[in-house]
């Protein structure tokens, strides 16, 4: 029980989990506050928070979900952007060069993208394809991952030869040296704004949560986010 008063629960969107692990490590080095990370899709986490999940902070992969929570009056403040996601084109097959031009080639049969309905990186990928007028040619090749995480599984298992994913993924510790990626021009898609909110579980603010919230915007934390493949505000 003692542990619980000290520990804060951080609901983390799937694509943020690698960065979050480092952030928590850094945070724990300076504060005596335990952190439990709960990873899931932003959609599920939002549903759970609406139903009263005992999470203290919600680190989302976009702004839609935290805004939903704010509008329901479940957060202490409006969601605030802590980082921008960056889109990359990634392949784990060495013989393929990950460029937009190769996508049209015949040996590319499947292109993995996240479901635009639920994942911000999916929305961005679609915008890119539209922008470069590739949509008609590639439509038949697209396979949709439920989340960015599943998109990654399509790519790493080579089930899809290539796919759009988050830069944070290809820089993650487990994937760092696997395959090749190229960054997509940031101008080709709307910025992927990732927001954070503190959850209002009781009316009283939790001091520890506040400390962590502030930490995210600290220069040290922002630096960590940057090295993990995010652009910072």
């Amino acid at each position: 029980a003692e542990k619980h008063t000290q520990t804060i629960r951080i609901a983390t969107a799937a694509n943020m989990q690698y960065a979050m692990r480092e952030l928590i490590k850094e945070f724990s080095a300076h504060h005596k506050i335990g952190c439990d990370m709960i990873v899931s899709s932003s959609g599920k986490l939002t549903g759970q928070i609406t139903a009263g999940a005992p999470y203290d902070i919600f680190v989302s992969a976009d702004m839609k979900y935290p805004e939903e929570i704010f509008e329901k009056g479940l957060s202490f403040e409006k969601p605030k952007v802590y980082a921008y996601g960056q889109l990359v084109l990634w392949t784990t097959t060495d013989s393929i060069s990950p460029t937009l031009e190769t996508l049209k080639q015949d040996h590319i049969q499947h292109i993995a993208v996240a479901n635009p309905k639920t994942a911000p990186y999916g929305v961005a990928a679609m915008q890119v394809l539209d922008k470069y007028d590739l949509m008609n040619d590639l439509k038949e090749k697209l396979v949709y991952g439920e989340s960015i995480a599943q998109t990654n599984q399509f790519i790493t298992s080579k089930a899809a030869e290539i796919g759009f994913t988050a830069k944070s993924v290809v820089l993650s510790p487990t994937m760092k040296n696997q395959g090749n990626y190229t960054e997509i021009d940031e101008k080709a898609y709307d910025r992927i704004r990732q927001g954070i909110v503190r959850i209002k579980r009781t009316d009283a603010e939790n001091k520890n949560t506040r400390i962590f919230y502030n930490f995210i915007f600290s220069p040290e934390a922002q630096q960590i986010l940057k090295t993990n493949g995010y652009a910072i505000p």
């Binding site: 899709s41 959609g43 599920k44 939002t46 549903g47 839609k64 979900y65 939903e68 499947h110 993995a112 479901n115 309905k117 639920t118 697209l142 396979v143 949709y144 991952g145 439920e146 599943q150 599984q153 399509f154 298992s157 080579k158 089930a159 899809a160």
Partner: protein, 228 residues
């Protein structure tokens, strides 16, 4: 706006899967029910194993196995010319693997519950094992068969972990209703999700209700009444 494609696909998948499962499960269950081999308990255990893994994880392993990078996947694609990933046949195979225990277990229990005399009487009358199974044993274990079929069918309708993983959620090809509902819930479109759920629920409810009415002889009685 409701998209009917996923629903059509779902019931197509469920029907085909159930059909294939029946063909596989009956001989397998027969073997498990009657074999006296020492390997039998091991096989029995293995049959239930697909259940132990979370569907997405099972789906992931299937994804890896079916991918061109894997010898099995390469073999299937090159030698048999079948494209399993992100295709309807792949969904069918995934669903068959995952729903296998639901079909095998009740049928096995059904076989095990039958008196030996039935089999013996049929053999003595010169009937082959196949004829005996089809015409004597299966018709005498209808409740078990029915529960197997209903479990497998309903489960395939609702299943989405495996299907999502190896299907790739492609509209019109592998995007089944369960994924559609899931998507809407994820996207916080609860109204649409409810609508999908309700339709899925309603259709399956009616289907199963028909099956149970038929099984209970209610339909027969109804027709009978209408005729007289």
């Amino acid at each position: 706006m409701i998209d009917w494609d996923p629903l059509v696909l779902t019931f197509k998948l469920a029907a085909i899967t159930t059909g294939i499962l029946l063909v596989i499960a009956v001989p397998l269950a027969y073997y498990l029910a009657y074999s006296r081999s020492k390997l039998k308990p091991i096989l029995e255990t293995l049959v239930s194993m697909p259940l132990v893994l979370p569907p997405t994880v099972l789906g992931f392993y299937l994804l890896v196995t079916f991918s061109p990078g894997h010898p099995i996947g390469r073999f299937i694609e090159n030698e048999l010319g079948i494209q399993l990933l992100f295709s309807f046949p792949g969904l069918v195979i995934g669903s068959v693997i995952y729903s296998l225990p639901f079909m095998v277990q009740p049928i096995q229990a059904g076989f095990a519950g039958l008196p030996h005399a039935l089999k013996e009487a049929s053999y003595v009358l010169g009937k082959s094992r196949f004829t005996t199974v089809i015409r004597v044993l299966l018709p005498n274990m209808k409740p078990a068969l029915l529960s197997a079929v209903v479990l497998a069918f309903a489960h395939t309708v609702g299943e989405f972990g495996v299907v999502l993983m190896i299907g790739g959620n492609i509209p019109g090809r592998t995007r089944v209703a369960s994924i559609a509902v899931y998507d809407e819930v994820e996207a916080l479109n609860y109204d649409l999700a409810n609508t999908y759920s309700l339709i899925l629920f309603a259709i399956t409810f009616l289907l199963l209700l028909l099956v149970y009415l038929f099984n209970g002889g209610y339909l027969k009685r109804l027709f009978h009444k209408m005729r007289t």
